[in-house]
């Protein structure tokens, strides 16, 4: 069996067709159902992370009047918020959710290459979430060691959740890595082997490139986390000294000797830095496609975008120690890692330029997805530029461990990817649900989220310039922090509460529109990529009906001179212009959807 001709796979697919409700929606092997299970679970976990952040923001903003957050809970909330958002929310949502949904549809495949493994992946992910959440209910509560889990602190008595909480965290992470590996192998092999006829690598939409490279990064980076977790578990439970040096706990020496806490940090950040791009690269891909469709213009410099994704992915493995400039590691490493870190700014900047140039001479439809995509460009420019401060090793000396770091990474890998998530969810909602969302509500959601987020994080950088340390339960009395810093903290908290609450609009919109939304056209935006060309909306199991599509062109044939329409779907044969009767094309819709 060399290559399985795609037509032959149809028969195999038949065998997996579900026969009951449970098989269809619970033990489903359909990538679209799994995508929604993955995404839904990630969002639910993310809501926990959001609520935790609002609770500790209340403490930071109003330390005098908030007494239900004690120092112990503050550190637990900060830790769990960080870990949930980075791993269980963003990674799972981008790759488990969007990866699962988009990969087969955009590539013209019927499903993932290993549907059963795919189902196992989502259920394993559920187990890891359950283990994580269980730590809230054990004695001592969840770990409060900071999401970086640095030893020796994690397992010592002065740290919240140092007994059961940290063990559950480590187990949960290990299970997550297993879940991710099952899913990740699927995405990678599907992208390499299950593309439809004519879908060459360079014809893939950038979404797929982003997901592909991010998945490869994840497959090679998560092992470092697994290794670190295993060794830390050995130290905690079996008394080894991989990471644990001789230390004193509450006045008495512990039975450890000679371990290296910095070794843990190297392992952690060897995972942790690629992790940033595991979240960012799918976002880069998704936003490229949203921008291109709504600007009615091909993505500018497609090749450069692909190269930049690959370059960023490669470089992301040799920059990790920029998180450790002041960790006490050999300071000479600083030269190397500052250089690599600033080099990574070049491909990233080129991506930004190309997004901007995609808008240049476009025909921009300012729909809600476009609002979010443009909001992303703004916050990403801001977050990317502040990264140049922290990456440059000497500037990191005054700024590391201050609120500047918090503001930077929230803008660049919190707010920016989340704006892309919203853009993508609104953009693909009509395909996913067969209904239109409410445009007014989506735009209100955009304004509050975008402006609110900037009101949170712009001032926060300035607390960092001042030198206000992060991870402080209360500022206490110092000579250098003026009282106005506390007022600023209060206003940041108010903005955070508003932004947090405004997300209700999003849920009302996407849940309500399932029932009350206007029925959507199969291709309401006039998009050229394959997922919009499915025979059914939403796509049925198997995606393509009787016949798999064949691809004749790249995914960005927008406003091609001489073409009758301003887009040509990927599966339109060369020299054959789409017939006027083609149901996908509705000449009236542009005027109804554009708002300007």
């Amino acid at each position: 069996m060399a290559y399985v001709p795609l037509a032959d796979q149809d028969q195999e697919m038949e065998m997996h067709h579900p026969h009951s409700w449970v098989e269809k929606y619970v033990w489903s092997q359909d990538h679209k159902v799994i995508a929604i299970q993955y995404g839904g679970l990630a969002v639910l976990t993310g809501i926990v992370g959001l609520v935790l952040s609002l609770l500790f923001r209340l403490q930071l903003g109003f330390p005098e009047s908030v007494d239900f957050v004690d120092p112990n809970f503050y550190y637990q909330a900060v830790t769990m918020h960080g870990m949930i958002m980075v791993v269980y929310f963003l990674t799972a949502l981008f790759l488990g959710g969007f990866g699962n949904y988009m990969v087969p549809l955009m590539l013209g495949a019927r499903d993932m290459v290993f549907p059963f493994l795919n189902m196992m992946s989502v259920w394993t992910f559920l187990i890891s979430v359950i283990i994580l959440m269980a730590s809230f209910f054990v004695g001592g509560g969840p770990t409060g060691a900071g999401w970086t889990l640095y030893p020796p602190q994690t397992t010592m008595a002065g740290t919240p959740g140092h007994d059961a909480g940290i063990i559950l965290m480590l187990v949960s992470l290990a299970v997550f890595v297993v879940a991710f590996t099952m899913g990740g192998l699927n995405y990678v092999v599907t992208i390499l082997q299950y593309r439809c006829r004519g879908m060459t690598l360079m014809r893939m939409p950038l979404t797929i490139w982003g997901i592909f490279v991010a998945t490869v990064l994840g497959l090679f980076a998560f092992p470092a986390l697994l290794v670190a977790c295993i060794m830390m578990m050995f130290d905690t439970l079996l008394g080894t000294s991989f990471f644990m040096p001789a230390v004193i706990e509450s006045g008495s020496p512990l039975d450890y000797e000679g371990g290296s806490p910095i070794l843990f940090q190297h392992l952690f950040w060897f995972f942790g830095h690629p992790e940033v791009y595991i979240v960012a690269l799918p976002a880069f891909g998704l936003v490229s496609d949203v921008l291109s469709v709504h600007a009615r213009k091909n993505i500018f410099g497609y090749r450069m975008m692909v190269w930049a994704i690959i370059a960023i992915g490669g470089l992301s493995f040799i920059v990790w120690a920029h998180h450790m400039y002041v960790s006490g590691m050999n300071p000479y490493f600083g030269f190397f890692f500052a250089t690599t870190t600033l080099i990574i700014a070049v491909p990233t900047a080129l991506k930004v330029y190309n997004w901007l140039l995609t808008l240049w001479e476009g025909d921009i439809r300012l729909n809600a997805p476009m609002y979010f995509a443009i909001g992303f460009i703004f916050t990403f420019i801001h977050g990317g530029l502040t990264g140049l401060f922290l990456g440059n090793v000497v500037i990191d000396l005054p700024l590391s461990d201050t609120y500047f770091v918090v503001a930077h990474f929230h803008l660049v890998m919190g707010v920016s990817p989340i704006l892309v998530l919203f853009a993508a969810i609104y953009h693909w909602y009509p395909k996913l649900s067969g209904r239109m969302y409410n445009e007014t509500m989506a735009k209100a959601h955009f304004w509050i989220t975008f402006l609110g987020a900037y009101a949170i994080y712009l001032p926060m950088h300035y607390l960092g310039f001042l030198g206000v340390p992060r991870r402080y339960y209360a500022l206490g009395s110092t000579d250098f922090i003026p009282a106005s810093a506390q007022e600023l903290n209060s206003s940041i908290t108010i903005a955070a509460l508003i932004v947090g609450t405004a997300q209700i609009l999003f849920f009302i919109n996407i849940i309500g529109s399932l029932k009350w939304g206007k029925k959507a056209d199969p291709n309401p935006w006039g998009a050229a990529s394959l997922e919009w060309q499915t025979p059914d909306t939403p796509p049925k199991h198997g995606n393509w009906g009787d016949e798999l599509p064949t691809v004749y062109r790249w995914a960005y044939d927008y406003s091609v001179p001489g073409a009758p329409e301003d887009f040509i779907p990927q599966n339109t044969p060369e020299r054959v212009t789409p017939a006027a009767s083609d149901e996908h094309i509705d000449t009236d819709k542009d005027s109804t959807l554009a708002d300007v």
Binding site: L201, V227, G258, L263, Y302, R303, Y552
Partner: protein
């Protein structure tokens, strides 16, 4: 397919179906084999990270090298034999033959099981000799690395046992051909990992 050529192509200039039935850039092999290749890279990353940690930890002053018991040479022999039997089984199914398939295929699995048992016995000897897990990082790494290796082998045996059941319950050799081929690759990989690991452990 040249990677450079692929990614420098200008996709907007070429129209039409490229590559016939297979889109350009697809590997001419089974999906399972591609997946296994990726998995082997992941496993290599895991073992390499442990090795790097081993070397970093070794530099610290409290390290007392563990002298590996001679029994490990015997264990190594078992693993080599297991791998060789798998290769034998692979060659048989590759020829479309079935003679000696039972001997080679089951022999490979049994030898692998014996290897794991022998590893456990070695652990017990070390424990009895006072080389406890927590007494020195060199010991801890020995137990961790050998344990991890045995765990990988156990995972392989799970796949092997599925094929074994299929074979015993009247399956044709053709049905488990791919499985045997992939197991053989995996076994060779684990043998290689073991040899590297054994060399590192004995020389430090």
């Amino acid at each position: 397919m040249s990677l450079i050529k692929t990614v420098t192509e200008k996709p907007w200039e070429r129209k039409g179906v490229i590559g016939g039935m297979e889109p350009e850039g697809t590997f001419d092999t089974e999906a399972e084999r591609v997946a296994l290749t990726f998995f082997l890279v992941i496993a290599t990353v895991i073992f390499s990270l442990f090795m790097v940690s081993y070397y970093i930890r070794m530099e610290l002053p409290d390290w007392e090298p563990l002298s590996e018991p001679a029994q490990l040479w015997f264990n190594t022999g078992l693993l080599v034999a297991s791998s060789a039997f798998f290769q034998w089984a692979r060659n048989i199914v590759a020829r479309g033959d079935s003679k000696n398939l039972y001997t080679s295929f089951f022999g490979a699995g049994v030898l692998a099981i014996l290897f794991i048992v022998a590893q456990l016995v070695t652990w017990n000897h070390l424990q009895a000799g006072g080389f406890y897990l927590s007494s020195n990082p060199a010991n801890a790494f020995y137990y961790l690395l050998t344990g991890l290796h045995a765990l990988h082998l156990a995972g392989g045996l799970w796949v092997w046992s599925k094929s074994a059941i299929r074979l015993v319950s009247g399956g044709e050799p053709e049905d488990i051909k791919l499985s045997i081929e992939l197991c053989t690759v995996y076994w060779h990989f684990l043998l290689l990992v073991w040899i590297v690991m054994f060399a590192v452990l004995s020389n430090t």
